[in-house]
């Protein structure tokens, strides 16, 4: 199961992030999780929202550079070794991780890892074969 993530190009300027958040807020869109990657000169804001189509449309209308990317969300035990178990499977399947970020989530002792793989389908298959819960949108957004 793949999830749509929004990647938004960020200028390294005061107020730029705030404008993005305001666009989402004005459209009543809740951020499930986010990750911010930055370089000296620009940044990339990656967000997961339930209403991704609307969010992408509204952000683009507001002039932001938005790209939709498929990511894989995986449920993991929120305990030592939880992440290791997952990346070991990925490594064994010979899939490359472009980036990953994590968040804990209302489902008690479970955490969610969001992966961008060079081969998302192969990674998702390997994870499912190992009985790892790859989350569908419905589970993630409740």
């Amino acid at each position: 199961m793949k999830i749509q993530q929004l990647a938004i190009f960020l200028q390294n300027k005061p107020g730029h992030l705030s404008g993005i958040c305001k666009t989402l807020a004005d459209n009543d869109i809740n951020i499930v999780t986010l990750s911010l990657a930055d370089t000296q000169q620009f940044g990339i804001l990656r967000v997961i929202v339930k209403e991704w189509e609307l969010a992408a449309q509204k952000l683009e209308e507001a002039g932001y550079l938005v790209q939709l990317r498929e990511v894989v969300a995986v449920e993991v035990d929120d305990e030592p070794g939880g992440m290791h178990k997952i990346v070991e499977i990925i490594g064994a399947a010979n899939v490359n991780i472009e980036y990953v970020y994590a968040f804990t989530f209302h489902k008690s002792s479970r955490a969610v890892l969001v992966f961008r793989f060079d081969d998302p389908d192969k990674a998702a298959d390997a994870l499912r074969e190992a009985n790892i819960n790859v989350l569908a949108e419905i589970e993630l957004f409740g």
Binding site: F9, Q11, T39, G63
Partner: protein, 443 residues
């Protein structure tokens, strides 16, 4: 006007440099008439241009008649790329040089054996006047290549009989090492590098006594009298200003005398005019205008009324040094959008043509020029196209590096590249004003 010489007042070619004015004008007219006849017969671009202007060589009867002749511009050189203005058989060319054109291709110039000889003497004139003597060492920190700066100064130093240290440009730490270890008497560089060096000494990073420096010859970039005062006081040296451009010859077109009352133009080799760039009429004596040169002696690549786009003033008054030639003031600006970055000519259109080759880059850009720590720095802000992929820092860095390499290929300069989201840069109506030059020339 300075009434006393600041250094010894000497001449490299006294007879030519101090020729009585009436004799000089007679020589110019004689050479101009011969030149016009020659280019009309041997350079098809001039045959056409003279015909269009309705002027024949025999119409040039006085020096004022030069105004009947058509101008030559950088775009004329470009339209006749690469060697449309060559006036001698190709086999007689002994040297090529070039300067950056506004489209990505350089404009070439060529020299015959006699041209090279004249060029060496013209460089020797200002070097000798500025204090360089046989037995001394001069470090040349201009680039050696198509640019006329490096090789031009090189042969002038050799002509004087001094030693050349051809350091070429770049690597400031290595420049300093050479300066210290080989104890050069003179440094030839851009004003920005000179300031950088002066700051190093003033801040105690460089020990003044480790240098044997007596003077500098600065050119190829705009600079100010205040900068000179600061460096001369800080370094305890003499600094001379000179001017040249590749289309006319390269360095040596003009240079200062010991009285430092402007740069003496080698009028035995060039006719200079100062025009209003809008009306193309001559400005009144002493007023600001665009310099226009006609080369009188060049065999390989003579140019008629070449519009330099450089803004200056001409002074015809008597100079106590004894030279009879007209003097030009420092270049105070340009009539086009050319930028001079670390001595290199850059046109915004070159950056534009580099961007066209990058699919992710939009044609919207902004050039910011600054001078932190006295070294020119260029940042190019470029909008990404609306559908660009933005989820990967490494991919964005690849785009950035490709733009940087593309610009460096065309301009020869590495610039900082800032990627920007679409529709964030200012849009312009009509002629773009995409350059923000915040370099301060005040100190």
């Amino acid at each position: 006007m300075n009434k006393k010489p600041l250094i010894e007042n000497v001449f490299w070619q006294r007879e030519e440099e101090c020729m009585p004015k009436d004799q000089l004008r007679a020589l110019q007219l004689q050479k101009l008439r011969a030149l016009v006849a020659r280019v009309y017969a041997s350079v098809p671009a001039y045959t056409r241009a003279f015909d269009v202007a309705g002027v024949k060589p025999e119409n040039i009867k006085s020096l004022d008649d030069i105004r009947k002749l058509p101008f030559t511009t950088k775009s004329d050189l470009r339209e006749n790329y690469p060697l449309g203005y060559l006036a001698i058989p190709r086999r007689e060319v002994v040297r090529f040089h070039g300067s950056s054109g506004s489209t990505g291709k350089p404009t070439f110039v060529a020299y015959s054996k006699s041209d090279m000889d004249n060029w060496a003497n013209l460089c020797a004139r200002f070097l000798y006047s500025g204090g360089l003597r046989p037995g001394m060492t001069a470090q040349v920190s201009f680039g050696y290549g198509l640019f006329t700066g490096g090789f031009g100064l090189h042969q002038g130093i050799e002509r004087i009989g001094a030693a050349v240290l051809p350091a070429s440009s770049g690597n400031t730490a290595r420049q300093l090492m050479l300066l210290q270890d080989l104890r050069a008497d003179y440094l030839i560089c851009t004003p920005s590098y000179a300031l950088h060096l002066a700051d190093g000494i003033q801040s105690g990073i460089i020990d003044r006594s480790s240098l044997n420096l007596k003077g500098m010859f600065l050119g190829s970039e705009p600079w100010t009298e205040n900068m000179r005062t600061r460096m001369e006081e800080g370094l305890g040296i003499y600094i001379e200003n000179n001017y040249g451009l590749s289309e006319i010859m390269g360095p040596g077109v003009s240079g200062e005398c010991a009285f430092r009352n402007g740069m003496h133009i080698a009028e035995d080799h060039f006719i200079v005019e100062c025009i209003n760039p809008e009306t193309l009429e001559p400005v009144a004596e002493g007023e600001t205008g665009e310099l226009v040169f006609t080369t009188l002696n060049k065999e390989a690549f003579p140019l008629i009324r070449y519009r330099t786009r450089d803004i200056s003033r001409l002074k015809y008054s008597h100079c106590p040094c004894g030279r009879t030639s007209v003097r030009m003031s420092r270049i105070t600006g340009r009539t086009d959008d050319m930028l001079i970055i670390r001595g290199v000519n850059v046109y915004p259109s070159q950056i534009e043509s580099a961007l066209l080759a990058i699919p992710e880059a939009s044609p919207h850009y902004m050039i910011e020029v600054s001078r932190p720590k006295h070294m020119d720095e260029v940042t190019v802000h470029i909008e990404l196209k609306p559908n660009s992929m933005v989820d990967s820092i490494s991919e964005l860095n690849v785009i950035r590096d490709r733009i940087c390499a593309g610009i460096a290929n065309i301009t020869g300069l590495r610039m900082k590249i800032h990627l920007e989201p679409p529709n964030t840069l200012e849009r312009f109506e009509g002629k773009s004003r995409r350059v923000k030059d915040v370099r301060t020339l005040k100190d």
